[in-house]
Amino acid sequence: MKHHYALAVLIAGCASVREPAPVSDSAPATPAPPARTENVAVAGLMDRARADLASGRLANAAASLERALRIEPRNPRLWHELARVRMSQGDYAQAENLAARSNTWVGNDSELRAANVRLITQARTAQGR
């Protein structure tokens, strides 16, 4: 069942599905799309999270993103960033779910949608699906 609609999301969302990129535990799986937010606090937290992610402080990165999500729970970029952190932490199931959550708020941002779809594909591959 779940497979079904996740697939639907995949088909609906992607203009171009690329080959799944190889997944490694430490490096972020996909390059991050540029941050877009009006809120300075959220932008600051996102910057901090990205720095933490880059230097491997994954728990801190996740905490900053959760803080940001409390301010802007409908910001698809925050959900996407959190999905990337979970991917780096090797929590592929969460990565997949968070990227799907990001897609529900993604609106017209096709770039972010494509990034989410790539992340979902990678998370599935990593889970052997």
Partner: protein, 766 residues
């Protein structure tokens, strides 16, 4: 000869026996003193904090609410240069001198803040040099603790942190020879002996060491034997430990008052409780007040007996001066100060016991009860004091009002509320009954009540998951319905208005909460399938697979209902409700985080259709009266629930930022004669209106299209159809047939318009 020597021998043996027994007793006491004193660590309660208020430009919060939070933290409303822990109003907003605080992710230093407001919105947060600060956390409000069995509370201090004058005042009043005696004071002992001879109670002459022994090891009765034991133990204590160790332990042990059921121990906590500041900052006058209270914290309670406490303080000051510890000038200045106490109201072990019960239960999954009550863990929770207070107040006020209107006698109506953040599943408030301070039965967690129509969304969600069979306009038969099953009486649900409504569109059956139509729909789908949906929504309790379960004979607690609706509010993503964010050790080392975890439990399309249908419940159905509290733009999605004979009144609903569940009824299951719309909904509405209710804008999934529908026929309409409405459908599931009012060309135009809109949206994606 033999008799005399026999007597002598007897005497000798007696002496020897007594000496041996005495030595044995002393050795036993010695063992106890050393074991217990050494092994004794003060049991420190787990401290529980609310969420920290995070200030940033754009935050929607009225200035008064920030002030209320600062007062709750014990901040004074006056400029106190050089100190922290105060705030003042300015032309733009607030100036705040933040106290330092160790958060779970590190310490935050004391700092000054300038917060500007424009109406109920923060426009900027700046530091002293006027630099913009992106995000600043206030200290989290402490909301209680998990206490040792005797409810002792304390904040440990080192001797070096305690002001010298406090120690001197203590010595001057309680034990002048403390630094020279060997654990007891001969003169005091003589006084005790005299009172023994005169037959009075044995009293007086306790050194600090003896007082400590008494509090530490012994029961409070006053007998000669106990006095003797106390004396020996005091001497042993002095033998093994130096004066500063004994003094430090005394300062941490001393009992200094009662805050409802919480016992205030030690000068560290007493300084915070009575004066709202750390012990280091106590003045001479404040120190003297605490020292004076040691003699009888209830008798000299400065809140209840300010005059008596002040006299006692002045006596302590005089003794301190007479002993030469302070000068005449210092004495005179201290004596002249008035009594200024921390205004914080007595809250006991917690002001919000219901929420704490939830925290406690979640903690017990990972921690030992004994550790929770002794290790001084710091628990950072999701409680939002603003939401909690709004919920508590509204419930108490509304229940009192209903009681007056209905006069059903004692005991009165009860209620429960759960409020969560609709996206992350954090519990922001939990009220377990009309008396929010009562720490007994917690209805939000433990009252399992029939949920009535609150179960209906699960039935409609199951249906909408099959777009080829069911859409929002599919006609459902609301005619008389009988359900026959083996071994059970026939089940014939009737409607709330005692009428049947014939064929009705699916969305109307939900909006008007028609029972016959819903029962027919549920049994057509299959009870087991509906129950599987309920489970997938996050309800763990096993519900009985009876037809009556469909219409809400199933019993659930308000928290379980919240878990179920959370999945709907967050677009089909299930999140276990959580009350705790982080746990650290007492010195701030992180022990555990509770991360945000979600799982997609439903595809987005049927969830979207369900939420849209639930918006109709509020727009034009049983939840219409919500417009008395919230403007239509808030577009709340909700559901009312009323059970047989109106024993239970429910309302469950969500805005763009919060989900709330309200239950009202009698504990003894009397018929309350109040429907969900009449009782639970007003509580919900008034509470959400008091908070910042964000409009609910449902994100439209790709697989959804809008189609113009003629409500009369439920078929495709065009612009010429009066009262035509635009409704969402899973792509391709909308009726093909044209309504009688519509022309072929008109419908074609509508179709082209919708398609063009879809293309344009895709084309102009950023």
């Amino acid at each position: 000869m033999s008799r005399r020597s026999g007597f002598k021998r007897f005497l000798w043996y007696t002496v020897l026996t007594v000496a041996l027994l005495g030595a044995g007793f002393t050795l036993y006491l010695d063992l106890r003193v050393r074991n217990e004193f050494e092994g004794r660590r003060f049991a420190l309660p787990a401290r529980i904090y609310a969420r920290p208020l995070e200030l940033h430009a754009g935050l929607r919060i009225p200035l008064a609410d920030v002030e209320a939070e600062l007062r709750e933290l014990g901040y004074r409303e006056a400029v106190r240069e050089g100190e922290s822990g105060w705030f003042v109003r300015t032309r733009e907003g607030l100036d705040i001198a933040l106290r330092p605080f160790v958060f779970w992710d590190g310490p935050q230093a004391a700092r000054r803040l300038r917060v500007s407001f424009d109406g109920p919105t923060v426009t900027s947060v700046r530091d002293e040099e006027d630099r913009d600060q992106a995000l600043v956390r206030l200290e989290p409000v402490p909301v209680g603790g998990i206490y040792p069995a005797n409810n002792e509370d304390r904040v440990l201090v080192r001797l070096g942190e305690v002001p010298k004058q406090l120690v001197q005042a203590l010595i001057a009043v309680e034990d002048r020879n403390f630094f020279s005696h060997a654990g007891f004071d001969p003169r005091g002992l003589a006084r005790a002996a005299a009172s023994l001879v005169s037959g009075g109670p044995i009293q007086g002459g306790s050194t600090l060491t003896q007082q400590l022994v008494k509090n530490f090891f012994l029961t409070p009765e006053r007998t000669l034997q106990r006095k003797f034991t106390e004396l020996i133990m005091a001497m042993l204590l002095e033998l093994h430990y130096d004066k500063s160790e004994i003094l430090e332990t005394y300062l941490n042990e001393i009992y200094l008052g009662q805050d409802r059921d919480r016992a205030i121990h030690g000068v560290g906590l007493a300084a915070l409780y009575y004066f709202g500041k750390p012990v280091e900052q106590l003045t001479l006058a404040e120190s003297a007040l605490l020292v004076g209270m040691a003699k009888g914290p209830a008798f000299y309670d400065p809140y209840r007996q300010p005059r008596r406490a002040l006299e006692r303080r002045n006596l302590v000051l005089r003794e301190t001066k007479d002993q030469g510890f302070v000068t005449m000038e210092q004495y005179a200045a201290a004596r002249a100060t008035t009594l200024t106490l921390n205004p914080k109201a007595a809250v006991g072990t917690s002001a919000h016991p219901a929420f704490l019960q939830l925290v406690h239960r979640q903690l017990r999954r990972e921690y030992d009860e004994a550790d929770l009550r002794s290790e001084g863990l710091r628990i950072f929770t999701t409680l939002d004091p603003r939401v909690q207070l709004a919920a508590e107040r509204v419930l108490a006020r509304k229940l009192a009002q209903f009681d007056r209107e209905k006069r059903f006698g004692e005991p009165g109506l009860e209620g429960a509320i759960v409020v969560t953040d609709s996206q992350a599943g954090e519990v922001q408030a939990l009220v377990g009954g009309r008396d929010a301070r009562y720490r007994g039965f917690n209805r939000a967690l433990d009252a399992a009540r029939p949920v009535g129509s609150l179960l209906k969304p699960a039935i409609y969600l199951t249906a909408l998951g099959e777009p080829t069979r069911y859409t929002l306009v599919t006609p459902i038969d609301d005619g008389p319905f009988v359900w026959k099953s083996h071994g059970a009486p026939d089940w014939q649900p009737s409607n709330y208005d005692q009428k049947f409504h014939g064929m009705v569109p699916l969305r109307t059956a939900l909006a008007q909460s028609y029972n016959a139509a819903t029962a027919r729909l549920g049994t057509d789908l299959g009870i087991e399938r509906v129950l599987a949906t309920v489970k997938r929504l996050g309800v763990e309790r096993e519900l009985r697979p009876y037809a009556s379960t469909l219409l809400g004979a199933a019993e659930m607690s308000p928290l379980e209902v919240a878990q179920m609706y959370q999945t709907i509010a967050s677009g089909g993503f299930r999140t276990p409700l959580k009350a705790i964010r982080e746990v650290t050790t007492q010195d701030g080392r992180p022990l555990r985080r509770y991360p945000l975890a979600i799982e997609q439990a439903f595809p987005p399309e049927p969830m979207y259709l369900l939420a849209a249908a639930m918006q109709d419940v509020v727009r034009q159905g049983t939840g219409q009266s919500l417009k008395n509290w919230l403007p239509p733009e808030t577009a709340v999605a909700g559901k009312t629930g009323t059970t047989d004979e109106q024993r239970d009144a429910w309302f469950a609903g969500f805005t763009g930022n919060r989900l709330g569940i309200v239950w009202i009824g009698y504990d003894d299951n009397r018929a309350a004669r109040l429907s969900g719309a009449a009782a639970a909904l007003p509580v919900w509405g008034e509470m959400m209106a008091a908070l910042d209710a964000e409009p609910l804008a449902l994100p439209r999934p790709d697989g959804i299209e809008s189609v113009l529908i003629d409500p009369q026929s439920g078929l495709r309409a065009d612009l010429t159809c009066a009262g035509a409405v635009e409704l969402p459908f899973t792509m391709g599931s909308a009726p093909e047939q044209r309504a009688p009012c519509a022309t072929e060309i008109g419908v074609a135009v509508e179709q082209v318009k919708e398609r063009a809109r879809g293309w344009l949206e895709r084309l102009f994606r950023r």
